[in-house]
Structures are given as structure tokens and as C-alpha cells.
């Protein structure tokens, strides 16, 4: 496979202080995380940084993303996160000085106080928060190992980040907050979830379909039916469409209240542009993951399919990222039914993790449509309809210049 990795997901700590009720990582079929040390050590940081620098130099990368993950990465304290970022930055500066790095730490926010935030911000590390709603009731599934809600601590972190965004937190850069990742809970009112998160003023909001597949159906779907593109209920589309409608209507004054990647990517794809997410469209995958012991893996979400699904057999001690990409990176082929589907140019078959199935011909694999196929199609067609209706309107707004896709 050609191309290069442009996103490096680095595990800082491979355990978590939360036990979210839907967590695919610690409560799913994969338990390989038990084989990895809890914390990344300095030697692994240095070797990983060298491999990233080697890759960036070899491919003359102009930019790359470095996402510091867990588990909960801040279980090692902010210094470990800062040290890992600094190690990568120094190695890349030496071997690929033209490569601009963007660092983000993805955290549950429970360990994120003002001191930690200042330290991360000073190191140029942005912060992504995982939060499923903007109230304790809406975020109820995110609990610690004793069942206690994580929301009060996470909300404090969100409010600090929001204050920093407004320039009200000395020592924390306004651009420190990267946004919120929200895993959809169809048992909660979608607009209530959206509005509650919006009240926290995040710069972006990702609405994530819970990781599921044909053998482990999504929450609320007891039986997804036969593998394929058949008629079925669409509870996730029914949840997402009211959020899209509310969000879209809020752009009436030429500004959107926050970015919502899922909707933006579908809109871009409908207008013929490529997508920048792996869960939609046909762009080449950018991400590779390095565990706390230096083993190289595919992305975590694949672990929701079966034990060992993310394992490659490679590690940064012995193998370059080019070796990994050439030998162990076949993207799952699309299902035959997908190639003939009128929506395929937008959905791209959906998130690879959601395609795992017992296949009609026997065996198992990722060569199925997404278990969310019907939901994705309904959402995509809804957004297409909204765009088409807007295009048909004769009334014009003098505040907006006439335009085409290319001007």
C-alpha cells in the first residue's frame, strides 16, 4: 500500500480510572490491553519518536497529528504527556524540520485541573474531552469503577476550557480546547444532549456511533437482521436527524454554534469533496497506533470486533512505519453490495469496525456493510434533501455572495 501515516495515536497510559458502561475497550471482546504495561516508559517514547521522525522525513510530511491517548492518559500525570510530546517534537525537528506537528490529548477530564491545563497548554498540547452530555443525567454512563458519576469533575474541566476559550484563564491558551467526543446514547433526547453540550461552548463536537457490529449489535438494537442492505429500523438516524436540523438552523446568521464533524463530512462528500474521517468516504487511512510497550497496532475501535483485531505483530523497536504500512495495512475491502449502492460514494461503507460479521458465505470478516448501514443512508439522504431544498429556494440573502463550489 502506498502513502504514509499522518496520524500517530500514542498510548501514554493503557488503563482507565473510569468504567463507562458501554466501553468497548475494557468490556469488549478484546483483552490484549492486559498484556501491555500500564505506562509508557522513556525508552519507548524515544524509540517511537525516532520512528515518527524517520517516517516524516522519508515522506517529507508537511504536517502530522499526534494524539496522546489511553485508557486515561492523564493517569500518569500531565508531565508524562508533556514529555512524550516533547520527545516526538525534538526528534521530528531534527530529522524532518518541515513537518508541523499538532498534538492533542484525549481525556475523560476527571484529572484535568487548572495546573494540568496550564502545563499542557504551555507545551502546545490541545485537549479533547470525552463527554456524552452536558448534565449528569445525560452523561450517566460515564462512571468510575465504584459506579460514581464522572460528570462533576469532567464538567469542571469543560468549564475551565471554555473560560480559557474566552480568554478568561491566564496561562491557558484560548485554542487549547480541541472539542468534545460524544458517544450517542439513543435513550437520551438528542436535542437535549446537543443543547446541553453546546452550553459548555466546545469548539467542535463529534457525535460517535457506539462501536458495534453484526455479531454485537448497537445498543437498542436487539437483532440487526440478516447481514446486508435490507430494510431495518434506524434508531440512530432518528436520533441524529433532529440534531442536524437544530444545528443547521442555527447557522442562519452566517455562523454555526460549533463544528459537528459527522455532519460537515457528509455535507462535503455530498458536494463531491473527499472526507477527512475514516468512518465516511474513501480517503486513505492516516492513523496508526503505538501501545505503551511500543507494539504497533491498528486503531483501537477494531478491538470491538474480536480479540486481537488490532494486532499487527510489528513494533517500533524492530520495524519502521513503512514496513508496517506495506505489510500489515490492507484496508477492509468493501462488501459487494456496497459497491452497487447509490449512497456508497458518501458512506464509503461506514466505519470499518462496524462491518464485522459472520458472512453469508461462511466465516467472519469485515466485508459486510456497516451494521449502521440503514441509519447512515437515512441520515445522508436527509442531509441531501436539506441541501437540495436550500438550492431550490429562489429567495436570496444579500449578505451572502453568489458562489460556486470552486470560487
Amino acid at each position: 500500500m502506498t502513502g504514509a501515516f499522518r496520524q500517530f495515536v500514542l498510548k501514554v497510559h493503557s488503563r482507565c480510572n473510569l468504567a463507562c458502561t458501554y466501553c468497548y475497550l475494557y468490556q469488549g471482546p478484546d483483552s490484549t490491553w492486559r498484556e501491555h504495561p500500564a505506562r509508557v516508559d522513556r525508552a519507548t517514547m524515544e524509540r517511537t519518536a525516532e520512528r515518527i521522525a524517520e517516517h516524516a522525513g522519508r515522506h517529507a510530511l508537511a504536517s502530522a497529528r499526534v494524539d496522546l491517548h489511553g485508557g486515561e492518559p492523564l493517569l500518569s500525570g500531565p508531565e508524562a504527556v508533556v514529555r512524550y510530546a516533547r520527545t516526538v517534537r525534538e526528534a521530528v525537528a531534527a530529522r524532518a524540520p518541515g513537518c508541523r506537528l499538532r498534538f492533542t490529548v484525549q481525556t475523560n477530564g476527571t484529572l484535568l485541573g487548572r495546573g494540568s491545563l496550564r502545563r499542557l497548554s504551555a507545551a502546545g498540547i490541545r485537549v479533547g474531552l470525552s463527554l456524552d452530555g452536558g448534565t449528569a443525567r445525560l452523561d450517566h454512563r460515564r462512571v468510575d469503577h465504584a459506579g460514581r458519576p464522572s460528570f462533576p469533575a469532567a464538567e469542571r474541566a469543560a468549564r475551565l476550557l471554555a473560560a480559557a476559550r474566552r480568554g478568561e484563564e491566564p496561562g491557558i491558551r484560548p485554542g487549547t480546547w480541541a472539542g468534545v467526543l460524544c458517544t450517542i446514547d439513543i435513550d437520551r433526547d438528542p436535542v437535549a444532549v446537543y443543547e446541553s453540550l453546546l452550553a459548555l461552548d466546545p469548539p467542535s463536537l463529534d457525535l460517535l456511533l457506539p462501536h458495534a457490529n453484526w455479531t454485537a449489535p448497537p445498543p437498542g438494537v436487539t437483532d440487526p437482521g440478516p447481514v446486508g442492505r435490507g430494510p431495518r429500523a434506524t434508531p440512530y438516524a432518528q436520533w441524529l436527524i433532529p440534531v442536524f436540523d437544530r444545528w443547521w438552523s442555527q447557522g442562519a446568521r452566517g455562523q454555526l454554534p460549533t463544528r459537528i464533524r459527522l455532519f460537515e463530512e457528509i455535507t462535503a462528500l455530498l458536494l463531491g469533496a473527499p472526507s477527512a474521517v475514516e468512518s465516511l468516504g474513501h480517503s486513505p487511512p492516516a492513523a496508526v497506533l503505538v501501545e505503551t510497550d511500543g507494539t504497533v497496532e491498528r486503531v483501537d475501535s477494531l478491538r470491538s470486533a474480536y480479540h486481537g483485531a488490532s494486532v499487527t505483530g510489528y513494533d517500533v523497536l524492530r520495524h519502521s512505519f513503512d514496513t508496517v504500512r506495506a505489510a500489515a495495512w490492507p484496508p477492509p475491502p468493501p462488501a459487494a453490495v456496497c459497491r452497487g449502492c447509490p449512497v456508497y460514494r458518501v458512506c464509503g461503507g461506514g466505519n470499518p469496525s462496524h462491518r464485522w460479521a459472520r458472512l453469508p458465505g461462511g466465516g467472519t470478516g469485515f466485508a459486510a456493510p456497516s451494521v449502521y448501514c440503514a441509519d447512515l443512508e437515512e441520515l445522508i439522504r436527509h442531509i441531501a434533501t436539506v441541501l437540495a431544498e436550500a438550492a431550490r429556494r429562489k429567495d436570496t440573502d444579500p449578505a451572502n455572495p453568489r458562489c460556486t463550489l470552486t470560487n
Binding site: A233, P235, P242, W248, L271, P342, E377, L387
Partner: protein, 69 residues
């Protein structure tokens, strides 16, 4: 509130809703969704700079992974 069966208080018991038939109708073309010379919806106007940048350099666009384990 949206009228969705999910509730702010999450009392549970959501049903998956009605079964939906699938359509073979093609999606509208990009030019049908934003005809030349049309005034974009204000929300679309916000998104257009990024979309145009991608259209101008499609080979530079890659698929990033975003997840929250």
C-alpha cells in the same frame, strides 16, 4: 426537546422504531445541491471554504481517526 423517544431523564425502554425500506434512488449530484451562481444557505456558506480547499487538492486529504475509548 426533539420529540425523539429518548428522554432527557433517560427513563429507558427505547424501541428501535419502524422498519425503513431502502431506496435505490441515486443521491443528487454536487451541482444539483449547489448550482452555479446559487446563494448558499448560510450554514453551508460557513462550510464552503473547507470544502473548496479539499476539492482543490483532493489527493492531500486523508482519513483521520477520532475516538474516545
Amino acid at each position: 426537546m426533539s420529540g425523539h423517544r429518548g428522554r432527557a431523564e433517560g427513563t429507558g425502554g427505547a424501541s428501535p422504531g419502524p422498519v425503513r425500506a431502502r431506496s435505490e434512488e441515486p443521491l443528487p449530484s454536487p451541482s444539483a445541491l449547489l448550482p452555479e451562481g446559487a446563494v448558499p444557505h448560510p450554514s453551508l456558506g460557513v462550510l464552503l471554504p473547507v470544502i473548496r480547499a479539499r476539492l482543490a487538492a483532493p489527493a492531500s486529504v486523508v482519513a483521520y481517526y477520532d475516538d474516545a475509548p
